[in-house]
Symmetry: D2
């Protein structure tokens, strides 16, 4: 149920609506839209009716929408969600680029990569320390040691850091370090993890499952939103199809579909979506042309030596070329990359050591 | 690395091999095959070579297999794995049927269903208490209260009980009650959960992910095996394809493929694999004809009132007809259903109350 | 529009209904159901209404069904379609087995295979002479020479013969020889070819396309039925999915789904559906257990020397074992294989030469 | 086998190589690359060896490539294939846009659409007259009458015309009118049709099958090339996956993959690939950003009245906006749209009538 308050509704009036919603067994969520408060009251709405809220003071209109993902939908929040991420904003006109190695392998490897991607135009640093590996015998990540290196890289470059967590326990450790929690494709429907992430106030980068429908991705986001965390970034990373020429099939359609259904920012990860270095830049350009709000790119100083995902990792030089191309495409669709002039100057000393 | 001991190898000789394996950074696993010990030494085997083990006393042969799932494969354990499950065995000539409601909804619903499926020939009782629901607003299960009812149903009918867990925390609660832990399709690559299940000594029913390849299913099983739990049942439950006439597409090929690659028992869940009551029996018969070792069937006393998965749940009468048909097909392929005469007599009083 | 005539309706009354249907721009098709005539009047039915037919003498009821495949559906023809095929019937209680080589490679290879499959229990002989090969440089089939060999094999063994055609021109040649026209997966939506096949009176074995939905398969059959040929056999042969352990994924669900939607006989081709000799028998058993009316099996005297599809072809011995297993499963589901005692005696001399 | 001639090789020397290739049972194809002749000798090359050609005069090098699509691959023809299409070129720096209605419905509808798309920047006109409809009862196209209207539209606007053919018979009729033959997704592996198209000298727009792999698309193109027609345009039009939010899933990866494997021009059809008007422009922009050489767009003056594919057809105004956006993206990736200034002036009178 979506309750639209009048422009001049007072905090007391809003509070009364919240109380009525809770009394009806619903969980209310607040948003601001065009200068007025909007309340999304979610849960089993069979017990409540619009008639409950309509007579309350300050209420302008009540919409009963039987929507599978009310909080994620544009019914609740028609405008794009824009939120700050340690120095820049996500979801607005500017396009953000998160880059870094698949796995944090060593202090040196991470700091080298961080400097290189920072100089080439990255806005945030990614690096896996808890790795979801198909084989139990494969490298499983450095764990908390890797988080220390990520924190050091942030101090050095000023970039916020992003890492994936596979369990609530890992999340609790990661929260002491990271700026963005990543929930990966294999955990897109790990509902206890989604709820736990929803109880934090840390932005969540939620990747689409290998065979998750767009609707299921939005319902997974709804788990996080319904638990109270409104800062969710959706990320298309390729789906599993019959085609074997690439690791996955980039569902480029998902970009405009998601942008029309939800107010949440939508990113694309062309590294996983293609699985081949040679195709990453083309698909990154396509993502921006199609309306994506950001990119997630794997970069490694020596891809041929990477402990994981080497074939899809770019060299720093290839990444710099990609940023250059993506900037041009962003301009062609009326957008721009996150401005990095100021920070680049600010940290130039560290970067050039 | 697979180390085959001589028929008369002594425990001391076996122990020495285990010690060498550990010293080489490998984790040894023991199996018995044709009256001799077999040691599977898994991990990063780059540091070890066959030459390390061949000279040891009691060792007959060493095979270096670069296999993605050594412990699950028939290279390590050529014969079928057979293990007891509270009154019957799984993986042998007898075919087991696990039946019950999708969700435990109430004490009455569960006990009614348990009695009905017991009488119709079920060997174990399934019932969800922690439900992985696509929507955060859908019924999420009764939690521990549901486990109490399952335990009561076991006491009443003598059937072992099976329930799904979505997180390590839920697993710890469930372990106090259940005979078999189920890890569902959405968590097939929830690696921390797989490891934790591997550290228990409770059999695990591992369902194939919606878009998991057969190899990925075996590598997920390998996580459990490598953590020390050898009692894993694999379960095909339909994969996601373009076809929309059914909820999923039963990959019947997976039955003979899995049976040729692995020694683990292979079940099939025709309820999820079809999603429609009308097709469940046909696919259950097909599974047994193709070589499945067991079935997982959703039954509800009043499917039209079920809180989840009603359209694919059978009535007790339909389930009894299915058991009858499946018994005939089992006979045609040289197998039989788990004998339930004795237990049925034993619990007949309780059942007919 | 389905027009049900009264039990005692006269030919004149039926003819009047046909005339009214044609005058309304519809094409009428006749069927007999429970001793009464049923007329399916198909086409753009916007111009006609039930009221047009209801007052006519002999008409009992008129159903307006907006169905995408009226003639193929059980609305038009509730009972199973059963039709004779040169010595046996298809679609009834008996299960038919069509076997033979992927390609007719030589006179000797074909006659050897024909004798072997006949003795092992095959009811009809398949063999490709016009091959749909992915590469233009691969063996494309013997053409009409191969048809001569097929005709000779029929004379020798008494089995009706089946071959695939890729174009109308090839169909016209094949019609001089074959008993059943096969339209393959790649041509399932070759609409001009479907129409042309519909204008013959030769039974058509229509294979499901690699990514055709069940509904599309039925609409393809509708093309043939609407052109006047009511003898269509549907054949599931595996669909294309992400799984690479097998050549295709057998959609075993399709068997009960098709049997519930259509009156047409439903076969399954486990050779293409698995692509591996080792899995063919298991899936053949599953097909029969699920309710298939027949099987299509590739057999080659020396699979390792086959010019096409060697890995999925059975040896005659493996085929004989399959027939034995399938017979047992057929019995378990209340069916039997096409009786071949009489013909076997009749042709025994030829077979044992 | 690829035979590279020396820069100064004489026609006589080339001819001798061709003769040797034919004598070895191969079919030779000629290309020019960097000022020298290249001969691709295709067929069953087991009978020939490099040693046969190396000693011949004028031969510089012989490469034996066991390639599934030698003529389509960049091994044979490393540079992009560029060929003229009635007023512009395809495959070069300029991006071409083919637009028009799904079906030619009437003279008025076609001429209106042709004028509108011409003015908005289209370079060629598409329109279906032989429609591949899933249902035999749906509108099947105007046939030759529609071709007359297409020819009239060409005379009026100067745009070359493109239409789909489903059979050899239809192709023979269409060849009297059209500039480009389209072979649709359902006929991508209609091998007799591919061969027949290869025997013409009319450019062929070959669409990828719904579940065809990229390699299969290239092998289908090879059928046309091997039959002697080198002017083939490949067209990605979405593949069939589990996602139902869009009609198909645009495989945007296919653009850079195809561009790296083949020298043939690669187009994308965002209308079929999405199935929804609202997403067409975003995916058109993505295609150009990813490196596509052209677009195929459905436009209808009144999409809500279209006899087929209305939901995915753009209005002329929406199409004009798309062209505007695509032009900007083309510039951002160093390309441009086919220049239409001159023709626009030339036909301005006709257009503004």
């Amino acid at each position: 149920m979506i309750i639209l308050m009048k422009p001049g509704a007072t905090p007391l009036e809003v509070e009364r609506v919240l109380g009525y919603a809770r009394a009806a067994g619903l969980t209310p969520h607040l948003a601001v839209e065009d200068g007025r408060m909007v309340i999304g009251a979610v849960g089993d709405s069979s017990a409540a009716s619009a008639g409950l809220f309509e007579p309350l003071e300050g209420v302008e209109a009540v919409k009963c929408i039987a929507h599978p993902y009310p909080l994620a939908s544009r019914h609740f929040h028609p405008a794009d969600s824009i939120f700050p991420l340690d120095g820049f904003t996500v979801g607005g006109r500017e396009i953000a680029i998160i880059a870094g190695p698949c796995s944090v392998e060593s202090r040196q490897q991470l700091l080298d990569t961080a400097r290189a991607v920072r100089q080439a135009g990255a806005n945030a640093l990614r690096g896996g320390v808890f790795k979801p590996r198909t084989s139990p015998y494969a490298f499983q990540g450095l764990g908390e040691e890797g988080l220390e290196y990520l924190a050091e890289a942030r101090a050095l470059t000023g970039m916020p850091i992003v890492t994936e967590v596979l369990s609530i326990e890992q999340m609790e450790i990661a929260l002491r370090y990271v700026d963005v929690l990543q929930i990966g494709a294999r955990n897109m429907q790990n509902f206890p993890l989604l709820r736990a992430a929803g109880e934090t106030r840390t932005p969540v980068l939620l990747k689409r499952g290998l065979s998750a429908s767009i609707e299921e991705l939005l319902m997974a986001a709804e788990y996080i939103l319904a638990s109270g965390n409104s800062r969710v970034i959706l990320c298309e990373r390729g789906i599993r199809t019959f085609e074997t020429a690439t690791r996955n099939t980039t569902d480029i359609n998902a970009i405009p579909v998601l942008k029309s259904l939800t107010h949440l920012p939508v990113f694309l990860d062309p590294s996983h979506a293609t699985g081949h270095r040679a195709y990453v830049a083309a698909v990154a350009r396509a993502a921006v042309a199609a309306g994506a709000d950001g990119l997630l790119i794997e970069v490694h100083p020596q891809p041929e030596r990477a402990l994981s995902d080497g074939p899809q990792s770019l060299t720093p030089e290839e990444f710099a070329a990609l940023v250059h191309q993506v900037r041009a495409v962003a301009g062609a669709v009326g957008r721009c990359l996150v401005s990095s002039l100021a920070p680049a100057a600010q940290w130039s000393e560290a970067l050039h050591v």
